[in-house]
């Protein structure tokens, strides 16, 4: 299959395209929800489903051999470690700033309407 390149029926692209439109509408709709765990969960859920669809269908990763899949999709998992470390570090830096400099005295301006 790989020798002849990635040829697939057009239908699957149309379905993916429509799915991306619907999922993006859902993503945008989360902006009208109240902040909370549910909203965060939905933001991440729609993000991952959209990203998965783009990589799997549009970028044809779903049809590639496992050798390429693992070489490309494996290494980014390491980023999760960086996210974890930096989240911890961020909390620590915030705590030490609060301890040494106290609460922020910054008075934000109201956002103008356009």
């Amino acid at each position: 299959m790989a020798e002849e390149g990635q040829q697939h029926p057009l239908k699957i692209y149309w379905i993916m395209w429509i799915a991306l439109f619907v999922l993006s509408t859902f993503s945008y709709a989360t902006d009208f929800m109240d902040d909370g765990a549910l909203r965060t969960f939905l933001i991440l859920l729609f993000m991952m489903v959209k990203a998965g669809g783009i990589v799997w269908i549009f970028m044809h990763m779903g049809w590639e051999r496992p050798a390429l899949k693992i070489a490309i999709l494996g290494p980014p998992v390491a980023i999760l470690v960086l996210i974890g470390l930096m989240a911890l570090e961020g909390e620590y830096v915030e705590d030490s700033r609060l301890e040494h400099y106290g609460e922020s005295t910054f008075e934000p301006k109201a956002v103008p309407h356009h």
Partner: protein, 225 residues
């Protein structure tokens, strides 16, 4: 582009072991595609570093973080609609990903005319995305947002915004040029003289879909979170 060589019938886990262990070409794809994937992998790390950096400064600042929903709102029909322009930009980029996917398909069918026009449509949509981003930037700059300060809250908001969207916009701009170069080569028969192989359209498509992919993450983490 060289022909892909893969004389390996094994599938699944056996195929994986075979591909990596037989002292021959590992990936059964043309080298252009393998190299594009490896470049995109390195680009994934660059964008991840930006987004993780953004997370870190957002967590660690003691100044209030501005609400992106308000900062990026636009007045429409007399009401401020949150993230209006950003939503339009998102849909434009998705549309361009769709036209690109069709262009790849038409390329493999050797329909040069359709491939050309679909790639041009993708480039036009990409250029309009960059145009809207320029509008967004100039609006925020006019309101006093800078990479080092921000009247609506934490200064780090300005730094992350210009850094992340700027780097992404640069990728889109480069992609528009890349698309146009390949599109005109498809049209003028450049690849016909090289064996009529249109795998290059798929390689270009990989880059373009990646730009859309990065926007999915920027939209979720920077604009919605």
């Amino acid at each position: 582009m060289s022909e892909a060589v893969l004389d390996n019938e094994a599938q699944g886990t056996d195929g994986l072991v075979e591909d990596w262990s037989r002292d021959k070409q590992v990936f059964g794809v043309p080298w252009g595609k393998a190299m594009m994937w490896i470049f995109l992998l390195s680009d994934t790390f660059i964008f991840s570093c930006f987004l993780v950096g953004y997370m870190m400064v957002r967590i660690s600042t003691t100044d209030p973080w501005p609400n992106p929903s308000e900062v990026f709102a636009l007045e429409a029909f007399g009401y401020p609609v949150p993230l209006l322009l950003i939503a339009i930009m998102t849909f434009i980029l998705i549309t361009s990903s769709g036209t690109m996917a069709l262009a790849v398909n038409m390329g493999y069918r050797k329909d040069r005319n359709k491939t050309f026009w679909l790639m041009v449509a993708t480039a036009v949509l990409g250029a309009s995305f960059v145009g809207m981003q320029a509008f967004e930037w100039s609006k925020l700059i006019a309101e006093g947002v800078r990479p080092w300060e921000n009247p609506f809250g934490a200064a780090q908001f300005g730094s992350s915004f210009f850094m992340i969207t700027g780097f992404h916009g640069m990728h889109v701009s480069a992609g528009v040029i890349y698309l146009l170069v390949i599109a005109f080569r498809v049209k003028n028969g450049y690849y016909e003289k090289r064996g009529g192989n249109y795998e290059i359209v798929e390689v270009t498509g990989l880059y373009w879909h990646f730009v859309d992919l990065v926007w999915v993450f920027i939209f979720a983490f920077f604009y919605l979170w």
